[in-house]
C-alpha cells in the first residue's frame, strides 16, 4: 500500500501530470486555454515518433525474443476480450441500446496512446525499464476491439447497406490511422538504426521529450476538462462509475497475461496500463463510420472526461505498483 501511495505521489508531482491537472482545472474553471489544432497534432506526432523510436532502439538491444511474440499475442487477445467484459457489465448497469453498449465497449478494449506515452515516462521515472517491444504491443491492441464491437453490435454497417468499399475503407483507416503509422514506422526505424541512430537524433528525441509532453498534456488536460463538463450532462452516475472502475478490471484481466508472457515489471506495468486505457481518438472516428447511431457524447465523455484523467493521475501509479508486486522488480 505504501508503495502505491509513494508511486501515486511521485506520479502526481511529476511535471507532465501537474501540467495535465493545470489544463484540466483551468478548463473546468472556464479558462479558454487551448492549443491550435495543427499544433496539438504536431505535438502528438512528435510524441508517437519519439516513443516509437525509443522502443525500436531498445528492441535492437534486446533482440527478438519469445516474450515479444507472447506479448503481441497477449495484447491482441486482451484487446478482443476486454470489450466483451465491458459490454457485459454495461448491459447489467445501463439501459443503453445494444449499438451504444458496443461502441463504448470498443473504446475500452482499444487503447489510448497518450496514456501509454505517459505510463512509459512514469515507469522510467521510477526506475522500471519496460521492454522496447511494448510499442508494438500498443499498436496491436488498437484494432481487435473495434472488430469485436462491430460483431457485438451485429454489424449496423450491413443494416445501413454500406458498400464493400466503405467497410474496406473503415478497416483501412483503423489499421493505418496516423498514430499507428508514425508509432510503428518510428519503431522500425529505431530498431534498424539502433544505438547509432539514437545518438544521431538524441537531441531531438530525448532532450525535449518531457517538456513537449508537458505542453501536450496541458492541452489534453483542457480537452479532458471540457469532456468532463460534457459528461455531467449526459452520463448517469452508473456510467461514470463504469468509467472509473472498468480500467481496473481491464488491468486485472491483463495480470495473468503479463505473467505468462514473462514481462518485466516495467513491461507488465505498460500492459496493464494499455488494458486499462480507453481510446478517444481512433475508435471514436471508427464508430462514427461503423455505428453512427451511437452518441459520441456518451463514449467520448466517458473515455476522455472520466477514464483518461483517472488513469493519468491514479491509474498509472496503481498499475505500476501492481506490476511490481506481481512480477517483482
Amino acid at each position: 500500500m505504501d508503495s502505491i501511495l509513494q508511486l501515486a505521489a511521485a506520479n502526481l508531482l511529476s511535471p507532465p501530470v501537474l501540467f495535465f491537472i493545470l489544463g484540466f482545472l483551468g478548463s473546468v474553471a472556464g479558462s479558454q486555454l487551448t492549443l491550435p489544432e495543427a499544433m496539438a497534432k504536431t505535438l502528438s506526432i512528435y510524441l508517437m515518433l519519439a516513443i516509437g523510436f525509443k522502443g525500436g532502439v531498445a528492441l535492437s538491444q534486446e533482440g527478438f525474443t519469445t516474450a515479444l511474440l507472447l506479448a503481441l499475442l497477449a495484447g491482441t487477445v486482451l484487446s478482443a476480450l476486454i470489450p466483451l467484459i465491458a459490454f457485459f457489465i454495461l448491459r447489467l448497469i445501463s439501459d443503453l441500446p445494444r449499438y451504444e453498449l458496443a461502441a463504448v465497449a470498443a473504446h475500452y478494449g482499444s487503447i489510448s496512446i497518450v496514456t501509454f506515452v505517459a505510463a512509459t515516462q512514469a515507469a522510467r521515472a521510477i526506475g522500471l525499464m519496460p521492454e522496447g517491444f511494448m510499442v508494438a504491443v500498443a499498436a496491436a491492441m488498437e484494432t481487435p476491439a473495434i472488430l469485436v464491437a462491430l460483431y457485438l453490435a451485429r454489424s449496423s454497417a450491413e443494416r445501413q447497406g454500406a458498400s464493400e468499399a466503405d467497410k474496406g475503407s473503415l478497416m483501412h483507416e483503423v489499421f493505418l490511422n496516423s498514430s499507428v503509422v508514425v508509432l510503428m514506422g518510428a519503431f522500425v526505424i529505431g530498431a534498424l538504426t539502433g544505438e547509432e541512430g539514437m545518438q544521431a537524433v538524441d537531441g531531438f528525441i530525448n532532450v525535449p521529450f518531457t517538456g513537449i509532453l508537458c505542453l501536450f498534456l496541458l492541452d489534453m488536460g483542457a480537452v479532458a476538462g471540457r469532456g468532463m463538463a460534457q459528461a455531467r450532462g449526459v452520463l448517469t452516475w452508473r456510467l461514470v462509475a463504469f468509467g472509473l472502475i472498468m480500467p481496473f478490471i481491464g488491468a486485472a484481466v491483463a495480470i495473468p497475461f503479463a505473467v505468462v508472457a514473462g514481462l518485466s515489471a516495467g513491461g507488465a506495468a505498460l500492459l496493464l496500463t494499455l488494458s486499462a486505457s480507453a481510446s478517444y481518438i481512433a475508435v471514436p472516428a471508427a464508430m462514427r463510420l461503423a455505428l453512427p447511431e451511437a452518441r459520441p457524447s456518451i463514449y467520448l465523455s466517458l473515455s476522455l472526461g472520466v477514464t483518461f484523467p483517472m488513469n493519468l493521475t491514479i491509474g498509472i501509479p496503481s498499475y505500476a505498483a501492481i506490476a511490481q508486486a506481481v512480477v517483482g522488480g
Binding site: 468499399a165 466503405d166 489534453m220 480537452v223 471540457r226 481518438i281 462514427r288 467520448l300
Partner: protein
C-alpha cells in the same frame, strides 16, 4: 457573357465520413468537388470549435460540387444513403457557370 445553368451540391458532414461522401460522388460520375475545412459551428448536436476538439470525431467539413441536373438527381440519392444516419446537412441549389463543358 453567356452563362449556363447547373446545380451546386453542398454537403456539410463529419470528417470521418468524407471518404464515403466523395466515393458516392465519384460513383455518380461528377467531374469534381472541393472539400473545405470548417472551423466552428452550431447544429442540432450543439456547438463545436475545431481547436477545442481532439481527433476527427465531431469535426466538420464542407464539400462543394457543381454538376449537371441529371447528376444532381443521382447524387442526391447516393448521398442520402450515406448521410441518413450521420450528422450533417445537404443542399442543392441553382448556379450559373461560364464553362459548361467542365461539368
Amino acid at each position: 457573357m453567356e452563362t449556363h445553368a447547373k446545380k451546386q451540391m453542398t454537403i456539410i458532414c463529419e470528417v470521418p465520413v468524407v471518404g464515403r461522401m466523395t466515393r458516392a460522388l465519384d460513383r455518380v460520375g461528377v467531374t469534381g468537388y472541393t472539400v473545405f475545412n470548417a472551423h466552428a459551428g452550431k447544429g442540432s448536436a450543439g456547438s463545436w470549435d475545431e481547436d477545442r476538439m481532439i481527433g476527427d470525431t465531431g469535426r466538420m467539413v464542407m464539400i462543394v460540387s457543381v454538376m449537371s441536373a441529371e447528376h444532381a438527381e443521382q447524387a442526391t440519392d447516393e448521398i442520402y444513403k450515406v448521410i441518413d444516419p450521420q450528422m450533417g446537412i445537404v443542399t442543392v441549389g441553382d448556379v450559373f457557370v461560364l464553362r459548361p463543358e467542365r461539368f
